[in-house]
């Protein structure tokens, strides 16, 4: 009897599962429409910084390797133009084997010569050619193309993050012959190997791409094309999705906008959420008294009830997760239990604030001590976070004045010249990787973007060691030690809350996986529409 029941259950399960399976089989056809809140100054991925370039233009290109589009942590390297790769025993040579038969949209074949020319432009751009991320490739000694289908990177020293830095979504592979004639050609023209070919860009309006029928990854893309609409206003973006005139917006919406779409569209909408690889942090100017005293800096962190803050702020702002120096849920992130041992991350806020007051007294900071917190003039989420911070510091007897400085002048007038006591600082990454995320915190003489303005050779040493080790477990240990020193022992910088990415999209959009970075997963080769 039991076996009969089991058989019936199995059959029932199979029958119920059948439509789901059929629905999950990618279907070809349709045009994906998505609003993009920002428009790029040029088309050159090597020189631009804005997601406004990635979202509409990444589908025209491929990178050497990429981040696995199905990996929610956005940290697993996966093949793209390179079908495989090997790393030498000493960790200094990376050899990539390229797919054969990959064609540019003009019909010419893509070979290692093109990859080399692209990376030479990224790493050693000629005078007058901008390459915004060349600083991340200073470890590359040489890029070699020993044969048309092999590309080799020789490094000055081993670098654990190298594979992911090659998976950067910005590193479009361009055609060598074009670059040889004009290094600026790709700033105003589009021609890659990607799954979609360029149709038009009407400035301030839209970009259209159509399926590349000769795409090297056979069977893809599934879409017939896409249309990216430049829509700056978030209410207009919500209206587009609510009116089913657009399918998805790839950057993110606020909690309120998500709720509006959910209540308006019900089952027609699917919401994907993830911690976001962006964080607002507090730069504490070590050149200003009493902030040169680590007891004061620790007190500032101990005053923060990050868990209560997360609950309250995540209702109204695009922040949520309590985090250290790595995005929660990614390979090098500190687990919550361990994180709770750091100053300002404990669950007993009463005890933490008592300790904060004690530290302030010991440092000679009187009750009601006043200082100015300078903030960037960007409403979301800078404003709600600043209000929360000021309230938290008030609860340990600090009297904080909030001063907002216009966004375009903020770095030049406030952070870079050290014209502040305590100020909001920001970091946003394209891939969660300790090498990229921790560089900000090395000594200010090595990285002037460290606006807390300190020199800490222990941190510098830990940064170098974690970057060069080949053993992931050892690297994890080093990253944790770095984090403890940065946020707890020395409290050089304070983390607020991790940004939280919310993507409500029409349920008919399939094959797209949210990651912590709004710069990833925009090639659209695996995205499809159910109808």
């Amino acid at each position: 009897m039991r076996s009969v029941m089991a058989l019936v259950s199995l059959l029932l399960a199979a029958v119920l599962a059948a439509p789901v399976a059929a629905q999950d089989k990618p279907r070809s056809g349709g045009e994906l429409v998505f609003p993009v809140p920002s428009e790029p100054p040029s088309y050159d991925g090597h020189r631009e910084e804005t997601f406004g370039l990635i979202h509409p233009f990444a589908p025209f290109y491929n990178t050497l390797i990429r981040v696995d589009p199905n990996d929610p942590s956005g940290t697993k390297p996966a093949p793209s133009l390179a079908e495989s790769w090997t790393v030498s025993g000493d960790g200094r040579t990376y050899t990539f084997k390229l797919h054969r038969g990959v064609k540019f949209h003009d019909g010419s074949e893509m070979t290692s010569k093109d990859v080399k020319a692209s990376y030479d432009k990224i790493i050693n751009p000629p005078p007058g050619v901008a390459s915004d991320r060349k600083g991340q490739y200073q470890n590359v000694e040489a890029v070699e193309a020993p044969d048309p289908y092999t590309i080799r990177f020789r490094l000055k020293f081993p670098q654990g993050s190298f594979l992911l830095s090659v998976a950067s979504p910005w590193n479009f592979i361009y055609k060598a012959d074009i670059l040889a004639k004009d290094m600026h050609w790709y700033e105003k023209n589009v021609m890659g190997t990607g799954p979609f070919t360029f149709v038009e860009h009407v400035k301030g309006s839209h970009v259209v791409g159509k399926k590349n029928p000769n795409y090297w990854d056979k069977g893809k893309p599934y879409l017939d094309g896409f249309r990216a609409l430049f829509v700056r206003d978030s209410a207009a973006q919500v209206s587009l999705i609510r009116g089913e005139r657009a399918h998805i917006q790839f950057r993110g919406f606020s909690p309120k906008e998500r709720d509006t779409l959910k209540s308006a569209l019900g089952d027609k909408i699917r919401v994907q959420e993830s911690p976001w690889d962006c964080i607002l942090m507090i730069a504490i100017n070590h050149d200003k008294k009493p902030f040169d005293d680590k007891r004061v800096r620790r007190a500032l962190s101990l005053a923060l009830d990050r868990y209560a803050g997360s609950k309250a702020l995540s209702q109204i702002a695009i922040v949520k997760e309590v985090a250290g120096v790595q995005v929660p849920g990614t390979p090098y992130a500190t687990p919550p239990d361990e994180l709770a041992k750091l100053a300002g991350y404990g669950k007993d806020i009463g005890a933490a604030r008592a300790e904060a007051k004690k530290l302030l007294r010991e440092a000679g900071v009187p009750d009601g001590f006043a200082f100015t917190f300078r903030n960037r003039g960007v409403p979301m989420p800078y404003e709600p976070l600043a209000i929360w911070l000021i309230d938290q510091w008030r609860q340990v007897g600090l009297n904080v004045k909030h001063e907002v400085v216009e966004s375009a002048a903020y770095y030049d007038q406030v952070l870079r010249p050290g014209n502040f006591e305590v100020a909001m600082d920001f970091q946003c990454g394209y891939i969660v990787e300790p090498d990229l995320d921790l560089y900000k915190f090395v000594s200010t003489d090595k990285n002037p973007s460290n606006y807390s303005r300190y020199t800490d050779r222990v941190l510098d040493d830990l940064y170098t060691k974690q970057g060069r080790t080949q053993d992931p477990e050892e690297r994890k240990r080093l990253v944790r030690t770095f984090e403890k020193r940065l946020l707890d022992e020395e409290a050089h910088y304070l983390m607020t809350l991790q940004w939280h990415r919310i993507i409500p999209h029409l349920a008919k959009v399939k094959g797209w996986q949210i990651t912590p970075s709004h710069y990833l997963n925009n090639t659209l080769d695996v995205v499809w529409l159910t109808e």
Binding site: A408, C428, P448, S449
Partner: protein, 318 residues
């Protein structure tokens, strides 16, 4: 009359030069520049002082101010606005792309405003202190109190919720598809035109009331002239002076000032371009847009002055 027109015309040039100097200097006084705006988008952890200096040199921002100004003025003299610092595209091209849309919205909103304002204002004046006058005044006060962008949001949400329809969000030129073009632009034109008409209605009403109390109107009535003729030939023409001023100034404002309404309806117009260029510290583009807007105001003012002289022959330049 011709002497007056020529003098008014020549006066436009020193005004434009003054605007050019102010625009150039004010932009340089504001802290921050395009290099900051471009490189610091993600926090700039890998941005070095050398990179910033190289970028500044590329934009010519390392040059002394007088040289930057002289270069720009030399370009202006040849009607060459240069290239946008942000996109690298010729400024003429950037403006041309948006000008047709902005001009069309401005014209449509002006038509809406004029068609509403003049009959309503005249009617309210003729029927002063009756229910018609009160209704017109309520209508116009509501228009003044309602921001155009808010009305725009209400229009969009109303269509979306009630009819599940959304106006097109991508601009189609009128000559490509008139229906699609009007389906997008009629709503912002109505939203803006309503507010604009409110100002003009009140102005028409008060101007008409003043004129209707003039001796020559009383005389015309006394000699038994047909009321319609009195209104059109004697009252309306004289009452139009302040109304023309309001309509002209509003029209010039609409060309570049519809920032929030453009955002709500996702219009790729000059207003949004203006705001973005300022936020990005795109000096060349902002300067060109300031010059364009100033020119629009100056030309409209000039035309209005000419029209004053035509409407009221007593007006002469002294």
């Amino acid at each position: 009359m011709w002497k007056y027109v020529v003098k008014r015309f020549l006066l436009m040039f020193p005004t434009l030069i003054g605007v050019a100097m102010l625009a150039f200097l004010l932009l340089r006084i504001v802290p921050g520049d395009i290099v900051e705006a471009r490189l610091m988008g993600s926090g700039g952890a890998f941005v070095t002082a050398q990179m910033i200096a190289e970028e500044r040199a590329q934009y010519g921002l390392d040059q002394p101010l007088w040289r930057q100004f002289a270069g720009w003025m030399w370009g202006l003299a040849r009607l060459d606005f240069g290239r946008s610092m942000w996109t690298g595209a010729p400024i003429g091209e950037e403006i041309k792309l948006r000008f047709a849309l902005s001009l069309q919205v401005a014209v449509m909103a002006s038509v809406v405003a004029t068609v509403l304002a003049i009959p309503l204002g005249v009617l309210a004046a003729l029927k002063q202190d009756t229910w018609i006058d009160y209704a017109v005044r309520i209508f116009s006060i509501a228009g003044l109190a309602t921001p155009s962008f808010w009305l725009g949001i209400v229009i969009i949400l109303g269509f979306l919720i009630i009819f599940r329809w959304l106006p097109p969000m991508v601009y189609t030129p009128f000559w490509v598809d008139p229906w699609q073009n009007l389906a997008q632009l009629i709503w912002p034109a109505l939203a803006v035109g309503y507010r604009y008409s409110a100002v003009a209605t009140r102005m028409t009403r008060s101007a008409m009331l003043d004129v209707l109390r003039e001796d020559y109107i009383r005389t015309a009535r006394a000699k038994g002239l047909w009321m319609k003729l009195i209104l059109v030939r004697h009252a309306l023409k004289n009452a139009m002076l302040p109304v023309v001023t309001v309509i002209g100034i509003e029209f010039a404002f609409l060309l570049g000032g519809l920032v929030v309404t453009e955002q709500v309806f996702n219009l790729n117009g000059l207003g949004m371009l203006f705001v973005e260029s300022v936020a990005r510290r795109d000096y060349t583009l902002t300067q060109a847009l300031v010059m364009l807007t100033a020119s629009a105001f100056i030309v409209v003012n000039f035309l209005m002055d000419v029209m004053y002289a035509w409407l009221d022959p007593r007006i002469r330049y002294r």
